[in-house]
């Protein structure tokens, strides 16, 4: 057994007291406990944050505010979320299983770790788990891995479905540490692996996610999340697409597009957004807009299908969204 201390603070300040690099915050535990059992993560201190007042879903003129401890199932079921941010609810409902969604929190979801099989197996090299040890996936089994944002040191894909619509909608993450609070756009919250795949985001060791704000926008209500996977339930995405369109008549006035399953972080596709904006919402526009969606992709042996599948997933999402009007 690896002994660790366990605390159940009731306030954020108490939770942050003494937090350091060997502290792990425990929310739903569906990632953390899993990785602790595999000894991929070996904290010396586990701080159960479930008693902190980090819950609540509110909608105001600024947008949708979700506390970090809200459960995936509760957010997915919330009428305000479903009506105003349909793709957020859809991404949640297409994630994991009902049991997991009942446990898992929004903050934990954004911080879940990659499903790369080598990362989860401590008997094999992995730069993300053990910096400098090498990447087993590059020449190994890499069907589920990323093609965008990869480096020579890591090609792990970001697994979260929820993060995909959230980056499309310019979501802001609220953070708290002993030094105070700050808010960071989700898109820049996540970092690329580069030469330091062990670093996945700008969260500091002693920092908590307290909540997120999804800005109000005219397009969020007209949005859709499409997830492609081998089986119909309970599987991470091969590819996914979150699309939101602002429309005037048949013309796209603004577009928000992001992709999952393909990037080392949730992948915002601003070039596709630009190619859609100002154009009529037609099949031709969609096909043309996605042509360059996977530019710069670096496929490996088993995931060479992803760039094409990504383009097709985007067209599907745009088409279905358009047809749903």
């Amino acid at each position: 057994m690896r002994p660790y201390t366990f605390a159940q603070p009731r306030s954020v300040r108490e939770a942050l007291r003494g937090a350091g690099p060997d502290t792990a915050f425990l929310a739903g535990g569906t990632t953390l406990v899993d990785l602790m059992k595999l000894e991929v993560v070996t904290p010396e201190r586990v701080v159960d944050i479930n008693r902190l007042p980090l819950d609540g879903i509110t909608l105001d003129h600024k947008g949708l505010h979700i506390g970090a401890l809200e459960r995936m199932s509760d957010v997915a079921a919330d009428r305000r979320v479903r009506e105003n941010y349909p793709m957020v609810a859809q991404a949640l409902e297409l994630s994991a299983s009902a049991q997991l969604r009942n446990m898992a929190s929004i903050g934990g979801n954004l911080l879940q770790r990659t499903r790369c099989g080598y990362f989860r197996d401590v008997s094999t090299p992995c730069n993300k788990r053990e910096p400098g040890s090498g990447c087993s996936a590059l020449e190994g089994i890499n069907r589920g891995h990323a093609v965008l944002g990869t480096s020579d040191d890591c090609i792990a894909s970001h697994p979260s479905d929820l993060a995909v619509p959230l980056v499309a909608l310019s979501t802001v993450v609220h953070l708290a540490s002993a030094r105070g609070t700050r808010s960071v756009p989700l898109d820049t919250f996540y970092t690329l692996p580069g030469a330091t795949p062990e670093v996945e985001n700008v969260l500091r060791p002693n920092e908590l996610i307290t909540g997120i704000t999804v800005p109000r926008s005219p397009w969020a209500a007209h949005s859709l999340y499409v997830k492609v996977r081998d089986r119909q339930s309970y599987e991470f995405a091969l590819t996914s697409a979150a699309v939101a369109l602002g429309m005037r008549g048949r013309t796209i006035t603004s577009a928000r597009v992001a992709a999952g399953g393909v990037g080392t972080r949730p992948w915002r596709l601003t070039a596709v957004e630009r190619a859609l904006t100002g154009r009529p919402a037609t099949a031709a526009t969609f096909e043309a807009a996605v042509v360059r969606a996977a530019d710069g992709a670096q496929p490996r042996e088993h995931n060479a299908f992803k760039p094409a599948l990504l383009r097709r997933t985007l067209v599907r999402a745009l088409t279905e969204l358009q047809e749903s009007r």
Partner: protein, 746 residues
Amino acid sequence: MTPQPAPRPARQPQAAVGTPRSRVDGRLKVTGQARFAADHGPADGIDGIVHAVLVDATIGRGRITSIEARAALAVPDVLTVIHHGNAPRLPYRDNSFPDSIHPPGERLRAFQDNHVRFFGQPVAVVVATTLEAARHAARLVEVTYDAEPPQLDLVTAPAHEPDIYTRGDAAAALASAPVQLEMTYRMGRNHHNAMEPHAIVARWDGDRLTVWEKTQWVADPRNELAAVFGIPQAAVRCYSRFVGGAFGNSGRTWVHSVAAALAARELRRPVKLVLSRRQLYFGIGFRPAYEYGVRLGSERDGRLTAVVHDVRGETSRYERHSDDLALGRMLYDTPNFRQDVRLVPLDVNTPTWMRGPGWSTTATALETSLDELAHELGIDPIELRIRNEPADDPATGQPFSTRRLHECYTTGMREFGWHRRSSRPRAVREGDWLIGMGMAAGAYPAESAPAQAHARLGADGTVVVRSASSDMGPGTTTSMAQVAADALGLPMWSVQFQLGDSMMPPAPVHALAWTMASVGSAVQATCDRLRRKAVALAVGDDRSPLHGVPADEVVVRRGWLHTRADPRRGETYQQLLARNGRTHLEAVGGYEPPEEIRYSMYAYSAIFAEVAVDARLGIVRVRRMLGVFDAGRIVNPKLADSQAHGGMIGGLGQALLEHTVTDPRDGRILNANLADYLVPTNADATDIRAIYIEGVDNEAAPIGVKGLGEVVQVGVAPAIANAVFNATGRRVRDLPITPEALLMPR
């Protein structure tokens, strides 16, 4: 031919057999009271259990150069670490008696040398008084290796000498056939993924060993552990009352059981060992991967003139597991047939049976190739099959006992709406979805094996019947009680069937879909004998209302023995026993398969599938499936449906999802968990239906069954693959069929 129902022996009314009964142990299972192997402990008188955890090799092949256990031993509560450096040499006597189910070769031994034969092989076992300590300490055992690159490539690795079956002259017939096709199919490795992990509790009392083990055959741990430890079989007792699914993975005894028994012997304490979900991907066997070449020659009208199968299947380097790949020999009327089966020894652990073993593998190749031929010739796939339907078994020349495959086809066509299928591929579209239908046939041998049973009628009129069978999930406990109830003329609730103890009368391995034919026949014979004993007692008893009645004029209904002519003239078992001062009546009986087999005996399947394939995204959804089965008598339609649905869902997994992914560099299994190894979810398996063609087969077994549990998976995967072709016009010859295979540019 349709054999007449046997006149012997019961002529008892059938009240339970043939009716849909719920599982008698269903409540125990859903309320958590059924105790599986790992659940055994103090409640069973096993005190002071300690916990064992295996340390697995992290290389694919090579030698252990050192094992450092000091850190592990320093963990509080850790009792010992056993490895090849300190383990006693075990006798490991031969265990190849006639009905052994172990494949030929040298079995994997527990900690007897420093060889690593495959990734994940157990190299040490850690035992502690708590599971947590054992698990933690197992991580602290430092093993160093001298690693060699493992041989893992089924296609390029050298193979053993082929096993050849041949009739006629296939090469010549093929060369002169007006229509010739050649294809290669590849089937990925599959794991059983039963819900219950493998587990054992082992306890020594002096030189006697008792194990509570997950097994499909209580005789096998007894025999194997006796052989390994060099003790008499009678000194080992194995219990296995409940099994939480197996699908073939618990037929033979695996090395972890030896490790547990060894640890228990060394420590003189009962030891419990449960494999982790991850360890289930290398600690036990699997359905081997295959490369299956098929060449077909036919006339223009579709009559097959030549069939050639060139097969490569994986096995381990230390044992030769071979599946029975005989489907191609008997399903169609082909005068010229040749099959070369090459086992390819790889640095993997030994494969084993998995549902529909061999037969479902061949069905995938054969039945897809028939579909390719049908398409090539422009003949309906069912018509093509009917044109090649044999009159007698083409392999043996024997008549079929019963073969209602044609009826399976016609029933399936009607019930499935086969006429709505377009013979032109990629012709039916609903929005983004391409719709297709496919079918395939299958068969599985209707075999049986010797079995015995014991039945005891108590003074209270209840009966306990026992046989050393097992119930890995089909509901054997329930169906045997049905058979016994009818033979004795008792309601189901007064009959209890007990199994899962090697001290009970012997039964064959609970596999091969032969348990009802074998154990069921034994139970029927035993209970018939017991009933006749009671009847004899009554008719010979001058105080009985049945005194003097000819014995075969007496029937028993709901525990009431009465004359056939006058149901009011009779008495109960209780009255009979009480008056005669008997505490009980008992009988032993058994079943022996006939020495000479005069018929070709198989169960048959015709599987129909409708799929929708997303034209843009390549994802396949099975919209509905129908299985039509000729399996002889159906003892319990409700249990039969659960078998059939499960088998068809397993076939769906084989076709579209299931694939054990190994790293070619070291044999590491990358998806050794249930999130990454994809089995079908409920959402994947929506509209599934089974139909059983009525009829008994008294040649196959006195009880009239042909076996259902295996044939339900035979033909499912090719039916789906053929439907995918019909939907898309794309023939994917590698299973599972993935979106990327359907998206690849042509």
